[in-house]
Symmetry: C2
Subunit: 188 residues, 2 copies
DNA sequence: CGCCGAGTTGAACTGAATCAAGAAACGTGG
DNA sequence: CCACGTTTCTTGATTCAGTTCAACTCGGCG
């Protein structure tokens, strides 16, 4: 809970009273690994702050999965597309490790948006941040090779390479597990 | 000007008084084709609504360019990453055809955010929309082949294929002009 | 007319997919 | 704590989509 407060203070300078409104809506939840926060086709109804754990986003395909994102402790996670549009999610949000979350519902968040001074500001900033992340990723996917993407990931998130099954990482950088296994062999 | 007003009315239900505040900041600009709205390394200071024209976003590379986006009349365009963060742009925004724009400066927009009821709401919605676009594109890049991406583009934007040089489209879907030329030959 | 950028076509090459099989790691129940 | 099955990772052989380099065509424009 403290971590989440610090997040809002440093990022938005949330006031104590606004924090009261917001934090009163938060609901703690513990999940085992491989738990789904959101199933395919379900409408996302929550925004979740990760206190502990790692979460994976993926699209189920016939006889395998397309992993396109990881989210770590100290960040928000959601099937954000579905959350914004309130339409069925096209992907699954699932824990990789045991996880502790603080969740707020869509309805409660709309209330925060309208009843606090910085509600819409926070919403705007959050969207902007998510946009920036996706924008960077687009350029990475278009302009770097699979090997370069792997090395970059390795630099930025060494713990990811240690903690997360290779096949998920392969999918994330856009190649097969076999291809990644070979890249890994080549560069060590 | 009317088009832009309709855009805001249908999309956000902007009130007449808020529209007054907003539209008073807008500044009309005409540009010839191949004009740069924003240069590499420049900080984006405008958000622009396209009345007429087509605009291309690209990253200059040693001896060529990586085109990663097109924007058409009836939509907003900006080096949005740079605009949000107010840091130098990593890409170029350039007209493909002769173009008419309505522009608002960063400073003026911040004023709209704070002085109108729906300022931050509009900012949030705009970011959300941009996020959704990027999110869709990420999945397309990861899960479809170049040929599939081309066909999809062809369905969604036939006018793009007619109006825009093939080499830009090739770059956009992530292959060389030669490869696209062959795909095109194969499927017709 | 001649030039230049855009598009096409060909041939050789390459990174990654696919198919297939075996090795290592992991978890669960006895 | 071991034995077993399952999942994950590795390795090999083949195939394929797309790159690269190069030559040639076409249309517009100075």
């Amino acid at each position: 809970m403290e971590e989440i407060r610090r997040y809002f203070e440093t990022k938005f300078g949330i006031s104590p009273t606004d924090w009261e409104v917001f934090s009163s809506k938060l609901c703690r939840q513990e999940l085992q690994k491989k738990s789904k926060l959101i199933h395919l086709g379900q409408v996302e109804n929550h925004l979740s702050f990760i206190e502990t754990g790692i979460i994976r986003l993926y699209v189920p395909k016939k006889d395998d999965e397309l992993t396109f994102g990881f989210v770590f402790n100290g960040a928000f996670v959601s099937a954000y597309d579905s959350f914004i549009t309130q339409t069925p999610s096209e992907y699954v949000v699932e824990t990789i490790t045991d996880t502790i979350l603080w969740r707020i519902s869509h309805k409660d968040l709309q209330e925060v948006y309208s009843s606090t001074k910085i509600g819409n500001l926070i919403g705007r900033k959050a969207s902007e941040e998510l946009y920036l992340k996706k924008s960077k990723r687009e350029l990475t996917l278009l302009s770097h090779t699979a090997e370069e993407r792997y090395l970059k990931l390795f630099e930025e998130r060494p713990e990811l390479i240690r903690k997360i099954p290779l096949k998920y990482i392969a999918s994330y950088i856009g190649i097969t597990p076999q291809a990644l296994s070979r890249i890994r062999k080549r560069i060590t």
